[in-house]
Each structure stands twice: as C-alpha cells, then as structure tokens.
Point group: C2
Chain length 341, copies 2
C-alpha cells in the first residue's frame, strides 16, 4: 500500500490535532476542520489504511485514532517543516541569552531556563567539562594543616579545584614556588599544557615528588575527563502539566529520571551530531524513558564539541517547534561561548 497525498494530509491532521489536545481524533473532525472536500467515511477508510501501515492506532475499538510512534517518526522524517521562529522570538532569545556574561556555568544555567520556558518542555544542558583540553593557569593554595587546593583555570575560563593532601614538611612558600613552576611551563609552551608535557614535568622534578604527583593526578583527572560534565535541567514542572502524566506512577518515574543526571548524560551521548536529533519513545534505549521523547543536539566551538543541549517531553511533542528552538538556542550558545573564549 502506498502513501499518497491525501493520506499524508490526514496523517498530519491527526498528528497536529493529537499533539494539541492529547485526545484521539475522529474522522468527522478531520474532514471538517481541514476541509478536504471528502466525507468522514472516506477519511475513515484512509485512516484504516494508515492504521494498517502502522502510522496510526486506536486506543479502543471505536474511538478516534492517535498517531503511533512510527507515525511520528514518519512525519518527522518526511513531512515535518521545522518551525520558523519569528523575528521577535529570535531577537528575544538572543537578547536574553547574551546579556552580561559572567560565569560559563551561569550561561548554561540560564540557557536551560530560557529554553524550558520558551518551549514548555523540560530542558537539558550538558555543560562543557570545566577544563576541556587546555589549561591556562594552575595554582596551589595551602589550606588547613596539611592540605592544598589545586586550582585549574581552563582556556575557556572554567575553574576547577581539587583538594590534595600534603606531607607536613611542605611550606606555603614551596607551594607558591611550585605554582610558578607549573605556570612558567604553561606559558612557555604556546600550545598550553598537554598531557605529554605533564609526564616530562613529572620526571624532571623529583625533589618535590609527593606534592607534584598529587597535583598532577588532580590535573590529569581534570583534563582526562575525570570530572564529569555537569547536567543542568530546567522546567521539570512544565511536564507535570502534560495530561499524559496524570498517572502518578508515570509522573514519579519521570521525575526520577530527571534527577538521574548520569542517565540523562548518557541519553544525549550519541556520537558526534551536528544536526538536531529526535528520539521518539521506544527509540530510546533506556527503559526509563521509553514513554518520552528527546530532541537534542550538541554545541561546539571551533569544531570541538563543548556540550549538549536538548529537550525532553512526552511523545506527543511539538517536534517542529522543539527542534527549531533547540537549533536556534544552540546557535546562540555557541556564539556566546565563542565570545567568552
């Protein structure tokens, strides 16, 4: 059976209606609202065909149809036209996202908030690891009796710190001296610090071995991704309003998922994606979100991926708006980060 134009119109009609109302839609409503010039009976026949093809389904015999997940998939792949944000919307986003930049994580947080408010779904931002590859500054600061803080500043302005233990014999002056040593090495090398350099440093300086070892551990951990990327979520409340979560178990499950940052991080960790990707319901591998959809992308600066950005919502989602919003906001964030840089 082939999908002809009329079938497509009907499929689209069912999707749009269902997305809006969350109710099954009937043949009569479609025939009337999208005035196709045919009677409900004809629409019914077509819908029966669409059901056979797997694009629609019936909750019960004799209720209207709702789109199946494959229906959504087909629509998204072959029919959907991404929303065009209006000039106003675009400039609103740009304005609010570029005002007074401080901390990169503040930028990420704000972006998450805005994206959520704008779309009415829950937004997810996976932040750039505080230090990506290059360090700009390292500082050892003594605290307490026999501890020090290793403070690392990345070239993007991210700050990471880690506490390390020290042998009692070390004096503050020694730490200062070590810091300078680290930093002179950083500045000397035009490509900033790199892992190979670290290991040569390590062998060179034996006399402060313990301290250096521990500091290097901290540094390597920071650079090797030992620090997990932080996940920001915003607008969890938006989803509570969706009728599909009137069921308490589902709601609880959803909120649980949103608190599981590890899971979320994995969900979005598809390898390399420049485009906006959409995962509908069961297309997700994690059991916990098989009733939800994801719309996500990654943001990168100078060809290097910095983090992920996405939306999570019910399967009945306005994919056209969601993907347009994700795309636009992603672009803006990229610019903002580039500027910070």
């Amino acid at each position: 059976m082939n999908i002809d134009d009329r079938k497509r119109i009907i499929l689209e009609a069912v999707i749009k209606d269902y997305v809006k109302t969350a109710e099954p839609v009937g043949s009569r409503a479609i025939a009337k609202k999208y005035n196709l010039g045919v009677s409900p009976a004809t629409v019914r026949n077509e819908m029966a065909d669409l059901e056979e093809m797997g694009f629609l389904e019936q909750p019960h015999t004799s209720s209207g149809r709702i789109p199946s997940e494959s229906g959504f998939r087909y629509y998204v792949d072959y029919m959907m036209v991404k929303d065009q944000l209006t000039r106003q919307e675009e400039s609103f986003l740009e304005q609010i996202l570029t005002q007074k930049i401080e901390d990169i994580s503040a930028v990420i947080q704000r972006t998450a908030d805005i994206l959520a408010k704008f779309t009415n779904y829950a937004s997810i931002m996976v932040a750039p690891p505080a230090t990506t590859d290059n360090l700009r500054h390292i500082q050892l600061v003594p605290i307490g009796h026999s501890q020090a803080l290793v403070i690392m500043v990345s070239d993007v302005g991210g700050v990471v710190h880690k506490r390390i233990d020290l042998p009692e014999s070390i004096r503050p002056e020694d730490l200062e001296q070590l810091s300078q040593l680290f930093n002179s090495n950083l500045h000397g090398n035009p490509k900033d610090i790199s892992r190979t350099m670290l290991s040569s440093l390590r062998t060179e300086l034996l006399y402060r071995r313990q301290v250096i070892e521990r500091a290097l551990e901290a540094i390597e951990m920071a650079m090797g991704g030992g620090y997990q990327q932080k996940v920001f979520i915003s607008g969890a409340l938006n989803i509570v309003n969706q009728p599909e979560f009137k069921d308490f178990d589902k709601l609880r499950n959803l909120l649980l998922v949103l608190e599981e940052h590890d899971l979320i991080r994995n969900l979005l960790s598809e390898s390399s994606l420049k485009e906006v990707r959409i995962k509908i319901g069961n297309e997700n591998e994690a059991e916990e979100i098989k009733e939800l959809s994801l719309v996500f992308s990654s943001y990168e600066v100078e060809g290097r991926e910095k983090g992920r950005i996405g939306l999570i919502g019910p399967v009945r989602m306005e994919y056209w708006k969601a993907s347009a919003s994700v795309e636009k906001v992603r672009d803006i964030v990229q610019d903002v980060i580039k500027k910070i840089n």
Copy 2:
C-alpha cells in the same frame, strides 16, 4: 478544660496513627490499639473535648478525627520525645558523610542526599557562602582578549571566581604582579584580609587603578555576601509519594516551591538558632508553604554560622524522627567542616 493524662495519650495516639496512615482515626481503633482499658464511647467523649480545645478536628461530621495544626504544635512542644537514632543508624550516617572529602559543596550535596534518603522527606541545605569572611588567596588570571578571572580562595577552602573586564593595555605580567601584591598583603596580615585593609590597599595603589578597582569590587562582592548562599535540595521525589499530594494543584505548587531557591533560603533564615526549629503549616509566613512543615537548624563552626540544614514535608510529618535526624546530621556536618578547615 484541662488536659489530663488520658487526653494526652489519646492525642498522641491520634497523631501517631494519622501520621502513619494519613487517614482520620476513629475512637474504636484507638481504644483497641492502645488498649486504654476504656470503651470507644469514652474515647469519643475525650476526643470531643480535644476537638473543643482545638487539638483535633473532623474532616466531615462522622469521620474519625485528625490532629489540627495546634494539635501537632502542642504535641511537639510538650509531649514529643525526639527519636533516638540507633547506634547503627548513627554510625551509618557518620561513615557515609565523612568518607573522602573533596569539595565543600560536594559535602553539602551529599549531606542533602543522605538526609533526604534517610528521612524520606525533601531535604534542604543552605551552603556556606563560598567565601565567608577571610580570604586566603587571590589570583588574577588573564583570559580572552581583555578579561581576567579573579579567583578567591577562602580560609575554608571555598573557591569563588568572577570575570572582570580589563583595559587593553594590561599585560599578563601585570596581572601576575598584582596577584602577588594582593597575596603578599594577605600573608602579611595575620588576620587575613579584612575589609578595612581592602580600602587602604585601594588608595595606596593608584597606578593600576582600573584593574584594582574591578578586582576589589569582585572581592568585596564575594566577602560582603554579594554571592548568595547556594541552596541544595534533594529528595523532592519523596514528597510526591505522600498522599496529601495526590491533588495535582498541590503537587505542582510544591514542586514550584522547591524550585524557588530564593524563597527557600528565606524560609530558613530565622535569626540565630542553635536548636532544631519546627514550623508547622500555617506557622510559616510564606503563603506558598502553608500546607507544609519545616524542620530545620543551622550549622556553625567555632561559633560562626555557616549555613542551614532542614527538612520539608507535609504537616503530617514524623517530627520526632525528622528533628532527631536533622540534629544528628547537623552535628556530623559541623565536624566534617571543622575538619576540612
């Protein structure tokens, strides 16, 4: 009318039962379960009295009684014996909260998580402002074209950073020099940096005025509490399970409150409290949480308050367990922070 022993026993029975089941409790159940040696009829009379006194109320004519907020209040004030945590529970808490300490905010986060898991309510931690009063180290790190990061390390090991703009003319070496200047001043003064010192510094060094001004602004902001104390919330999900939130509007409201960190911070900001304080329902001033109860305290180190710790839950709360847990966890956190110090 006076409250005699039997009335108290009955009040306690109603509270314990209601807290457990969330259902009104009847005279028969009480007479039987707490075998008072009197008939339900007698209990009924007593309950009528308690109702008259305002300690109990009836949802509808002829359903069992439930404790009123004043009932809870009376119980909490005059009758409650705080739970004694078992040895096992105590050592469990101690063990899990003292293992490998890194970052202070990691400690706070973990504490919030444990407290929530342990009590099954939502926990709130108001973190110490990253820099309380004393700075241990200041570092200016250049980033990007004409910006620098002011990194401040407090004596507790908290790290705060703020981005400032620079005049183009400043070179990295200048910043390093300034950092050293700041720090030599820090080290020279045994009481670490203080606000008065800051202003003298400011007048002394006119030649790098712009940079210094901005750095000092950042520093003052950090020290003057310009940075708000961070609020950590954990276990919001626990509350979703409580039957009082089967009503969707209430649930939404609750989740909304939990996202309003500013509000939360204020809720706990009662002036100086060493003891665990309990606020029941309408005793709270904020409209939004008049259907919730708070159990909270502050943690301090060496007589100086560092932050707040608390639980938020339904009015029907196990105050005896909640306050015992808050107290114990607060003590542990104080120790941990002292040790970090």
